[in-house]
């Protein structure tokens, strides 16, 4: 039975099969001086703003769909390309763009990253959410405050070392 359960690992999955996106990402990464993977490109954090500007001007990515982060605390990230803790994932698309693309960059907790608000105003709320839940600081953001949690909240809940019940869970055993 265990054997049957692990059979999935051999399956490719539809996510890895989109050859057109992979080809396009590889081609694009070559032109932009970045790395590519099967759903998009990976850039160095200091090149982020330049790359996004070029993506918008040259490749018609005029719509920023989403910004989020992934915390790889204590393990190598899925690409194995870096030892930095957070992946920042930007999703771009555009009516005249060839495909939808993920743009990734890596940061560590103490570092900050350039904000995309001057290029895409929609990044304002999305970056605030990442700051709130991951504690990643965005430079030159016009109003970097917590957004979903209250201003006096302690910690950043989507970090992997943050317990699901929070730091200040009321311990009923102490009040028996």
């Amino acid at each position: 039975m265990d054997d049957a359960l692990t059979r999935h690992e051999a399956r490719p999955g539809r996510a890895g099969l989109d050859a057109a996106v992979r080809e396009y990402a590889r081609d694009l990464a070559g032109r932009l001086g970045a790395d590519s993977y099967d759903r998009g490109i990976i850039v160095a954090p200091e090149l982020l703003t330049d790359t996004v500007r070029r993506l918008r001007a040259e490749e018609n990515f005029d719509y920023l769909r989403d910004i989020t982060a992934v915390d790889w605390l204590g393990r190598r990230n899925v690409h194995g390309t870096t030892t930095k803790r957070f992946d920042l994932c930007y999703q771009f698309t555009g009516a005249r763009a060839k495909a939808s693309l993920t743009l990734k960059t890596h940061v560590d907790p103490g570092e900050s990253i350039e904000s995309l608000v001057p290029l895409f105003p929609s990044a304002e709320f999305l970056e605030r959410e990442v700051f709130d839940l991951f504690g990643i600081v965005f430079r030159n953001h016009p109003d970097l405050r917590r957004i979903l949690l209250s201003d006096d909240w302690e910690g950043h809940p989507l970090r992997k070392d943050y317990p699901v019940s929070g730091y200040d869970m009321w311990d009923w055993r102490a009040h028996r």
């Binding site: 039975m1 049957a4 359960l5 692990t6 059979r7 999935h8 690992e9 399956r11 490719p12 999955g13 539809r14 996510a15 890895g16 099969l17 099967d38 759903r39 005029d62 719509y63 920023l64 769909r65 989403d66 989020t68 992934v70 915390d71 899925v78 994932c89 999703q91 009516a95 939808s100 993920t102 895409f120 105003p121 929609s122 304002e124 709320f125 999305l126 959410e129 839940l133 957004i147 979903l148 949690l149 209250s150 809940p157 989507l158 943050y162 699901v164």
Partner: protein, 405 residues
Amino acid sequence: MRVQIPDPKSHIPADKKTMTLQMGPQHPSTHGVLRLELEVEGEYVAAIKPHIGYLHRCAEKLGERDRYVQAIPHTDRMDYVSAMSQNLAYCEAVEALLGLEIPLRARLLRVLLCELQRIASHQVWLGTHALDLGAMTPLLYCLKDCEEIQDLFEEASGARLTYSYIRIGGFHTPPSERFYTWARTLVDDLPRRIEMYERLLTSNPIFIGRLKGVGVITAKDALAWGLSGPPLRASGIARDLRVDEPCAAYDLITPRVKTRAEGDCYARYLVRMEEMHESVRLCKLALDALRDAPPGPLVADDDLVIPPPKEDIYRDMAAMIRHWIIAIRGFKVPAGEIYRAVETPRGELGVFIVSDGSEQPFRIHYRSPCFVNLGALNHMARGALLSDLVAIVGSLDFVLGEIDR
């Protein structure tokens, strides 16, 4: 003894020309717990700071804690006005990671349910939006008709609001024969009712006066601010994920994308009304296709993800073991990541999943359409009259459960 009472205005700078006004979190027109911190200059709104998070449950963190199947109820509770579309977005993303082939009947049924859900959601929006603007009658008609769609969903799924009906791989139980005949009757009757709403509102001078030219956003700004759904299409951008990135059976049943050029609240109203008519047409197409499609199961053929049918579990030892294994251990999902977006009644709901190859998602992220649309509120409503702000907030159709997640 004299008590020194501090001047209550002492913290306000002397040169401040505006007044700070808190709208919400209990304000009736915000339809939930949205607090808008307004800077008003007389009757005009100079700046808006939205404060959200009152309903925050961190569904993303809970998703990381649980196995894949267990995240489906969280998606119900994000946008409780269109739970079926939220189920669809999540399940489509996991199915894409797994590489599951969904049977045609299940894909058609998903289209039918999601389009009915779109109509129900727009009915709730229309009723409450009209109520905000002072029209009481449409609310009663809209909620009555929305209840009928909920009755139909109850017949299929057993729930009236949080369905969890769409599951990874298909559906948890097939709907009864009665469901299809009932759906046909309801869908045939819906155009008459939508036309009645239009007769009540579309050429109503008060309604037009409150909405026309209010909260205008240009096509360029709408794209830059990341609007999606009806607000984006009301600004003249024909972006609809049902056409651009079709999921379920939307590649077979293609909607005609409705746009308006004006970009004001009235255009958003018209786009949603046209979408309701379009959804009725799609429902009819889906029902016809379901009638003609060969009978068969509503779940994918994959014994590692889909539990065996209930009657087999009671009869067959191997099936019972398989059921237990899937229920207790879950199933492994190949390592990788996916961003899959679905056009819900409110816009683009994106689901970003990172899998590390185990039974639990390593990271789930929901890109909420209302959250991003709310970001544009300050840009759209700055300089508007305070009473127009109610119309603008209503026309963007916020559901706070989805904004806060």
